[in-house]
Symmetry: C2
Subunit: 187 residues, 2 copies
Amino acid sequence: MAVTQRRFDPERRDRIISAALDVIAEAGVAGASHRKIAARADVPLGSMTYHFTGMDEVLREAFTRFAATIAVRFEARMAQATTFDEARAAVVDLIHEDLTGSARELVLTQELYTLAAREPVYRKITHAWMKQSRDALVRHFDPATCRMLDALIEGLSLHAALDTEEHHRAATAEAVARITTPAATHH
Amino acid sequence: MAVTQRRFDPERRDRIISAALDVIAEAGVAGASHRKIAARADVPLGSMTYHFTGMDEVLREAFTRFAATIAVRFEARMAQATTFDEARAAVVDLIHEDLTGSARELVLTQELYTLAAREPVYRKITHAWMKQSRDALVRHFDPATCRMLDALIEGLSLHAALDTEEHHRAATAEAVARITTPAATHH
DNA sequence: AGCCGTTGTGTACGATCGTACGCATGACCG
DNA sequence: CGGTCATGCGTACGATCGTACACAACGGCT
């Protein structure tokens, strides 16, 4: 019956990972089960244990892909900028366009951080993500500033996403301007 | 005989909430169950449904208490400062002493944020927390700066906690100095 | 063409979950 | 001092979970 196409289906594994991200976005890591993910990916339950050693492996691969996706967009956004001012503007765009809009991405990011807070394995993923972000920034700013700016982006995005009142671009731009301006040395 | 004191035992409810925080810190919201929490609090399973309508209520009260605890410490730290420079130093201390050290608090914070990212009910808790933090800052900085500084604190704490390499106080101090120094106006 | 081994699937089991509900227990009042 | 009723507990049930394992389905080799 033209049905199964069982051997050599590399797409199956990918579909499971995508489905896992969907399920996690909707129900959280807490609510993600082999059964739900299998149903969402339209694969039999047995496929889960066949393709993955356990839920941990699914989560690790899912979040690795997720982090890579976001990081690539981050890099693309920063690569467009050529001048210092454009770089600053790009950061503001990044916070307001990319990192704030989607509830799905906010949720997935937080789920990942929660895992990373508890288990070092997931921290590798966040660490790679952070490094990739800083590498995208270092073309425009000095290394020390990159760290501060990266942290500021993180905080502003999170607060903008969780806060009820709207955050204005002007305020973000001001914050970015400040953090990228060396303070007068004093002692 | 002063023993069981079944009626009017307000301590029981509190113990359950404390136990819930312990369990969540260890096993995450995902791994927290009525049974585990009851066992940890040394109360019968039936007490869970008796004192709370469901897990949601337990989580809400637990995280409300947690957020209040952290916020109070935040306020205490900031209240010690009298001058502008002391306030800046207090912020640096806050990041390095209070917010980075404990794995338990990192985990609980992230678990809360994850819930807040998905459900508005929990966002009320984070919102109140953020407001309380900003109120503690506003004695020393202007409102706009408070928002930026609050976001910076969030980002720096998170990155310091998740990053493998050590973050130095000097870098934090520099970031705080920058964010609390108005940028030269330009247009 | 027909066997064979790899690849993938269906199912059944034991554990654990939240919740409902009947009953013990002790406080309070007459 | 004893009856009554709100308070709190033990237990049992149905649902859902991850996983093991027997077996179906096919490509390749002779």
